[in-house]
Symmetry: C2
Subunit: 190 residues, 2 copies
């Protein structure tokens, strides 16, 4: 989920309004990240870009949250997770230069981050968040940058423990498999 | 390692010069990411910041790399990995809003990304890169945002497989443990 506001005190209309303000900003920062990684411009052009970026940062910092914050995060891989018909979750997304490890391929740790997130989402429900207890990744081959697919589902639940499995895949099939145990935190037990 | 250029065709002086150009840019983009996540400014201020960001992006995109790229990546957690005296590796670093999962705490997937990266670094040497085969994370407690420490070391090597262990810790001790098997890729076998 790319945008995620602290919704406790907001109604649906507020959320929609905030999304309209901040989503284009997040998208622009993602573009800037990609441009920053790939630019070959010279020192003068880079200094001019840096001045613009610093001006934008100062503007945004005029009023900001200090404490824990809801996320509208250009760093997070651009996942939009959907529930599928069988109670599992799926996400189709594109990874660019910001997520590179071996040349042209996804960083192994980014694959781990995505699988942790997708399995955790499958294991949780709106009223029952579950946090990772243990998770294991098996890398079957390296994952190319580009269009990718991730999915996950619950295998079984025993008390506060939920067992989930999933994988990351490209157009040719599975690249990384994952299995994990997710725990309902004490504060969320009814 | 925050900055990492494709060094094949560069001498030490070139690398230093490029670092001087791009490192301040990377730092500014990191600041912008934090400001983007935490800002509470209104629609007009956000639109003005967005225009500055888009101008910087356009400037940087005037000349850029198409293919696989060396990394100077404001998305990557700000790790600077050091070799320790026993052949292991250590990294001390600070994680802010961009890496949040549960309120005030590190996203479990970000912990996985960092441990994959640090164990992979411990398992590799300059002439012998090794990629993750399997890795398991055990979350002992949630990790607060702020100043953190990670370390990893090789346990043993059997042929092309290297076994490594490590952990993530805050000031109070270990928060996440990891163990993995890292494989020397075919193209890097001598």
């Amino acid at each position: 989920v790319v945008l995620d506001f602290p919704v406790e005190n907001l109604n649906a209309e507020d959320v929609e309004r905030l999304r309209g303000i901040y989503e284009p900003l997040t998208k622009s920062v993602r573009e800037l990240i990609d441009a920053t990684i790939r630019t070959e411009m010279d020192a003068d052009a880079v200094a001019a870009a840096k001045a613009e970026i610093d001006a934008a940062t100062a503007r945004l910092r005029n009023r900001q949250l200090d404490g824990p914050f809801g996320l509208r995060n250009p760093v997070a891989p651009p996942l939009s997770i959907q529930k599928d018909d069988d109670g599992g979750v799926v996400a189709d997304f594109h990874l660019g230069a910001a997520y590179e490890g071996p040349p042209g391929h996804v960083h192994g740790g980014v694959a781990a981050l995505i699988l942790d997130h997708v399995l955790g989402d499958a294991a949780s429900s709106p009223n029952k968040p579950r946090l990772t207890g243990t998770i294991t990744m098996r890398y079957r081959r390296i994952t190319p940058l580009g269009d990718l697919h991730a999915e996950a589902r619950i295998v079984r639940t025993e008390g506060v423990k939920t067992f989930a499995v999933g994988h990351l895949a490209d157009a040719d099939g599975v690249t990384v498999e994952a299995e994990g145990v997710f725990i309902q935190p004490r504060w969320a037990r009814g």
